[in-house]
Every structure is written in structure tokens, then in C-alpha cells.
Amino acid sequence: MNQSVTLSASTNPREVPGDLAMWFFILAELLVFGVFFLAYGYARAHDPATFAAGQRQLALGVPTVNTLLLIAGSASVAAAVRAFALDRQRTARRLLWLTVALGMGFVVLKCGEFAGKLAAGITLSSDTFWMFYLSLTFFHFLHVILGMVIVGAVAVYARDGRYRPGQLAGVETAAAYWHMVDLVWVVLFALVYVAR
């Protein structure tokens, strides 16, 4: 299977961005989140009142800002890949660190949101809505942290100039993971915070 993939990639202008191994991971993560989202849809359809009651207690300001932070992070890491492709090393590294910083902003705001819920006595066992809310947001929260670690690691590695035009696999791999985290959040934001 892999041989055909690598072969076709080398003879075909279409190529997998970054490392194929990361894409297996990304697809697995998308599958988990996808099933989780569908489970949410199923549970909500069977008990809309509980979900509506829970959603009414969610403020929209912080998650909207968080969405903007993640999207900006995605833009920044995408720009970093292009900067490396142009061999603009300093700019590229700064853009990577900007992504990490934006992720940190997300984490801080999210912690505030979690603290509020915790103070209100909300736990995974409160009801089905809060179970999904906490499960999905916390699970995603951990992914943001992992994304920051991956992008941060690439930013550190980048100091020796290893990512150059034609040598972009490592940074593309990290960027792909971050974009996945962003993609999942976009759906999560619409589903948990907005849709009712």
C-alpha cells in the first residue's frame, strides 16, 4: 500500500503534504472526532431539551475569540511553511512561534472557561449535554496542547536551518496536524456553542 503511495507521489505532481505517517494519525483523529460528533447529534436529537438548556448557559464571547485564535494560528503556520519554501528562515520561525503563542491564548481562555464550569459544579456526570460539552472540549483542548508541542518542536528544530526549499516535510507535517486541530474546532464550535 505505502509503496504505491510513495511511488505515485514521486511520479505525480500531486503529493501528500508532510509525512504520510502523520496523515494516518490525522485520519484516525478525524475518525474519533467524527464519531464523537455524530454521537452528539444522535444524543441531542433524542433529548433536545437537555441540550438546549445546557447550551443556554454557554457564553459565546470566549469561544468566538478562541476560534479566531486557532484560525490565526492556522494562517500563521501555513504562512510559515511558505516562508520556509522561500527560505525566509527568520520570518518562518517567528510565524511558528506566533502559532504557539496563539495556541497559548486559546489554552488560557479555555482554562478560564473550564474553571467557570468547575466552579458551577458541572462535571462529566451532570447530564448528557455537559458530558458531551466537557468530553469534546477537553479532548480537543488536549489536542491544542499537543499541536503546540509539535509546532514548538519544529520551531526549535528549525534553528539549524533544516527546513529549506525542497526540505519541507517536517514543517508540513506539523502544520497538517495544527490544521486538523483547527478543522475539528470549527465544527465543534458550530455544533456545541452555536447550533440549536
Partner: protein, 481 residues
């Protein structure tokens, strides 16, 4: 090779010399007694399986000499112990070859073997000769009560022994790996074996609180069979595939990493499928269902992996039987662990099927397909080498392949009949407005239990032929080289 190693090899001198030419490292020979013990205990496991199968339909068979609970304890404990012997044998064979050096201490490996065998045998004799409560008293279970929980029935002192054996084994292998070449296969194998030892420590935690007891009991059982054991299985399969197909190690190893990554991504939280009805919070029904729904994927990948590597082989290995076992492992692990696991893993289904014959059906095919078969794959590949030849004679291989089909098809039949019995049980006892009492429902499934027992006899015949195949003489088919 140390003198003590030579002593237990028990092979004619000529063969012994020949063996040295087949083995890359002489100390790999310590694997041989482990594999022989594994097969012997496997035989015992099946004998007790047949006894239990008969007790399902002739309830008072061998009562009160061997009550069902004793037979089951022997059946399951022999399974675990023979698989552990298999893993250890595999470790002793595989690690020196991967590390490109002799084993740190062959002598320690042989001592460990005898300690483990004697401790295991004494425990089984204890199960069979005295009432379990007496065994608990004799072994001072009251000091640290750990007995009487499913699969962890061993007296506490035996559990301590298992830990010591595991430590000696891990010390021996770790020292070998540390001073030699570090390959992905050996690292994954070591990670799996260390994980096995570490999670076994939870067997010493037995709180009075039944929910906590059950919760952490699964830290041993689930994180073994759907976690670290799969690393061991993956490493063993990868090792054999590299050897018999000649496919580039890099290719095999990167797929190994991808597959076991999927295994742990799905399998660790997948533990949640055991936390639906034992007093744990309701959210486990969601978490467990979601993650265990993707647990079949790594098994499917492993099947594709095995077939892909064999299809891309760069050599025709003369040991056809080993290749067959390797492919069989891929398929049967997917069917048993993947498909039959998925069948009842979603919480709404499991609500009805939890604790029925469906669980038994899944358990049988998964253990056989994933773990019994991977150990036999390893034995099939290594045993000829340990006995001084690249592969067995054509006749011996033919018989081994017949035994493969008999055992495998018999296990498929056992699984199907237990599934049918489970279906009868669920529909009569769990569903409807006037559910049947347990024993009344069991009586309705009697036909399927008889068929299961018949399939068990076929399995036993297959196993007997497998053992006989070791004694079939004849020349290796040199043309196949």
C-alpha cells in the same frame, strides 16, 4: 553456550553442532525449552477446555472431582501461562538476533525457565488437588488477599513469583538490547514486555470496594490484551515477516509503528467498553463505544500488512508453514478481536449481551487468533532453526498445515456455535416481557453446546497433529531454497 544451556537442549550431538550453524547466536537456543513448555501447557489447556465443554451439557461430568470453576481456572490460567512462555521464548530468540549479540545471561534464562515452570505446575496442582479455599489458606492469602478474581486466581505467592520471573526475564533482555543494536522490532517488543510486567502489578490491588476492584482489574486484563500484548504481537509478527519475506526492514518497521500507534490510540480509551455496567459513571458508555468502535482498524491494518509483506516477498522461504501461520494470525486476529469484538462493543448492544456466551465466543476467537496463533507463528519459524535446519521436511510441514486448518476452522466453528448459543441466551433471558431464568435458557442452547464440544474435539485432533508434526522425519525440500 554455557554448560547449563547445553544440558537442557537435550538434542543429539550432531544436531547440536548443526544447530549452531543455523542460529545466528548460540544463546538463542534457550528459547527452545520455553516453546516446548508452551506447547505442553497448550495441550493441557485444550484438555480442560474439552472437560468444561462437556460439563456445559452433562452438568455432573467429573463432579465433584473437577468442578467447573476449577476446570475453568486451569483452562484460563494455562492459556495465560503458555502464552507467557511463548512470549518469553520469542523474546529470548528475537532479542539476541535483533541486538546482534549473545544473550546477556543464558544461564539466568534457564534458571528462570525452571522457576516459572515449577511455580506454574505447583499452582495448577494446587488448583486440582485441594479445594480453592484450602489453597488460599495454605498460601496465606489473608496477608495480601489477591485470589479469587477472574484470570487472577493464582495464589499471591505465585503472583510474586510471576513478577520475579518477569523481572529476571526483562533484566536479561534489557541488558542485551542496551549493549547491542537497537531496532524498532526489539524496542517495540521490549516496550510491550515491560508494559506487561508493569500492568500486572495492578493484580496486587484488591480493594473491598467492588467497583474499584473491577475498575483496576481491567488495568491488568484490558491493558494487557488490547494494549501491551498487541505490541508484543506486532513485534513478533514483524520479526517473522522480515525473516520469511525478505522485505526491507525499514518498510516493515514503519508499518509496525503505524499499526501499534492505531492500536493504542483506540485501545487505551477503549478500556471504557468494560466500564458500562460495573458501577462506573455513565459517560463511559459514550467514551467506550466511540473508541472501541475504531478498535477493529488496527487489526484490519495488521491483516493488510501481513498479506502485503508476503505478496511483496523477495525470497521464497522454505518454511511455508510459518508463512501460513503468519497470514492466519492476521486474518484470525481481525475476525476474533476486530469483528467479534465490535459485534457487542457498543453500549446499547452490550446492555443485552454483557456476560453472555457472546463474550465467550469473542474471547475464544480473539485469544486464539491474536495470541495463540502469533506464538505458534514464532514457534513454527524458530523451532526448525532451533533443531538445526532452515525448515522442516515437506511431510512435516504438510502435517503442520493440516493442523493449522483443523485448529483454525474448529475455532471458527466454536465461535459460531457460541455466538448462536449467545443469541439464544440473549433473546430468551434478556429480552421480551417474560424473560426465562438462566438455566432454562441454557437448556434451550444445549444443541449449540454439543456442536461446540464436537468442534472442540476437532480442535484437539488438530493440536495432536500439530504436536505429531514435530516428530515427522524426512528431508527438507532443498528445491524450495
Amino acid at each position: 553456550m554455557s554448560t547449563s544451556t547445553t544440558a537442557v537442549l537435550d538434542t543429539p550431538r550432531g544436531v547440536e553442532e548443526h544447530a549452531a550453524t543455523r542460529l545466528k547466536y548460540r544463546s538463542q537456543a534457550v528459547a527452545k525449552p520455553y516453546f516446548i513448555a508452551a506447547i505442553g501447557l497448550f495441550f493441557g489447556q485444550i484438555v480442560f477446555g474439552l472437560i468444561m465443554g462437556l460439563q456445559y451439557v452433562i452438568g455432573d461430568f467429573l463432579f465433584p472431582e473437577i468442578p467447573f470453576n476449577v476446570a475453568r481456572m486451569v483452562h484460563t490460567n494455562l492459556l495465560i501461562v503458555w502464552l507467557l512462555f511463548g512470549f518469553m521464548g520469542a523474546g529470548y530468540y528475537l532479542i539476541p538476533e535483533e541486538s546482534e549479540r549473545e544473550l546477556h545471561s543464558p544461564k539466568l534464562a534457564i534458571i528462570t525457565f525452571w522457576v516459572f515452570l515449577v511455580a506454574g505446575a505447583l499452582t495448577i496442582v494446587g488448583y486440582l488437588s485441594v479445594p480453592y479455599a484450602t489453597l488460599a489458606k495454605l498460601t496465606h492469602n489473608e496477608i495480601l488477599p489477591t485470589m479469587g478474581r477472574e484470570f487472577l486466581e493464582q495464589p499471591t505467592i505465585t503472583k510474586v513469583g510471576i513478577v520475579l520471573v518477569a523481572l529476571s526475564f526483562l533484566y536479561n533482555l534489557s541488558m542485551t538490547v542496551l549493549s547491542g543494536r537497537k531496532t524498532s522490532v526489539s524496542l517495540v517488543m521490549m516496550l510491550g514486555l515491560w508494559g506487561l510486567a508493569i500492568f500486572f502489578l495492578f493484580s496486587f490491588y484488591n480493594p473491598t470496594n467492588l467497583v474499584l476492584d473491577k475498575y483496576f482489574w481491567w488495568y491488568v486484563v484490558h491493558l494487557w490484551v488490547e494494549g501491551v500484548w498487541e505490541l508484543i504481537m506486532g513485534a513478533m509478527l514483524a520479526f517473522v515477516l522480515i525473516k520469511v519475506t525478505g522485505v526491507d526492514r525499514e518498510v516493515v518497521e514503519k508499518w509496525l509503528y503505524v499499526i501499534i500507534a492505531m492500536t493504542l490510540i483506540s485501545g487505551i480509551i477503549g478500556t471504557g467498553h468494560h466500564y458500562y455496567w460495573i458501577g462506573t459513571p455513565g459517560y463511559w458508555q459514550w467514551w467506550g463505544s466511540i473508541f472501541s468502535a475504531i478498535e477493529p482498524i488496527p487489526f484490519f491494518m495488521m491483516t493488510l500488512f501481513a498479506f502485503n509483506m508476503v505478496n511483496r516477498r523477495r525470497r521464497e522461504h522454505p518454511n511455508k508453514a510459518a508463512v501460513l501461520w503468519a497470514l492466519g494470525t492476521g486474518v484470525m486476529a481481525f475476525l476474533g478481536a476486530g469483528v467479534w469484538g465490535f459485534l457487542h462493543t457498543l453500549a446499547p448492544v452490550n446492555y443485552l449481551t454483557h456476560g453472555t456466551q457472546l463474550t465467550a465466543a469473542h474471547g475464544h476467537m480473539a485469544f486464539y487468533g491474536a495470541y495463540a496463533m502469533v506464538v505458534i507463528t514464532m514457534i513454527s519459524y524458530t523451532m526448525p532453526k532451533l533443531r538445526g535446519r532452515e525448515a522442516n521436511s515437506r511431510g512435516a510441514q504438510k502435517l503442520e498445515m493440516v493442523s493449522f486448518w483443523l485448529m483454525t476452522l474448529a475455532m471458527v466453528a466454536i465461535t459460531l456455535f457460541l455466538t448462536a448459543a449467545g443469541y439464544v441466551q440473549v433473546s430468551l433471558q434478556r429480552m421480551g416481557t417474560t424473560p426465562m431464568p438462566f438455566m432454562a435458557a441454557q437448556d434451550q442452547a444445549a444443541t449449540y453446546y454439543w456442536l461446540r464440544e464436537a468442534s472442540g474435539v476437532v480442535f484437539f485432533i488438530g493440536l495432536a497433529l500439530y504436536i505429531i508434526s514435530f516428530f515427522v522425519k524426512g528431508k527438507t525440500d532443498e528445491a524450495a531454497h
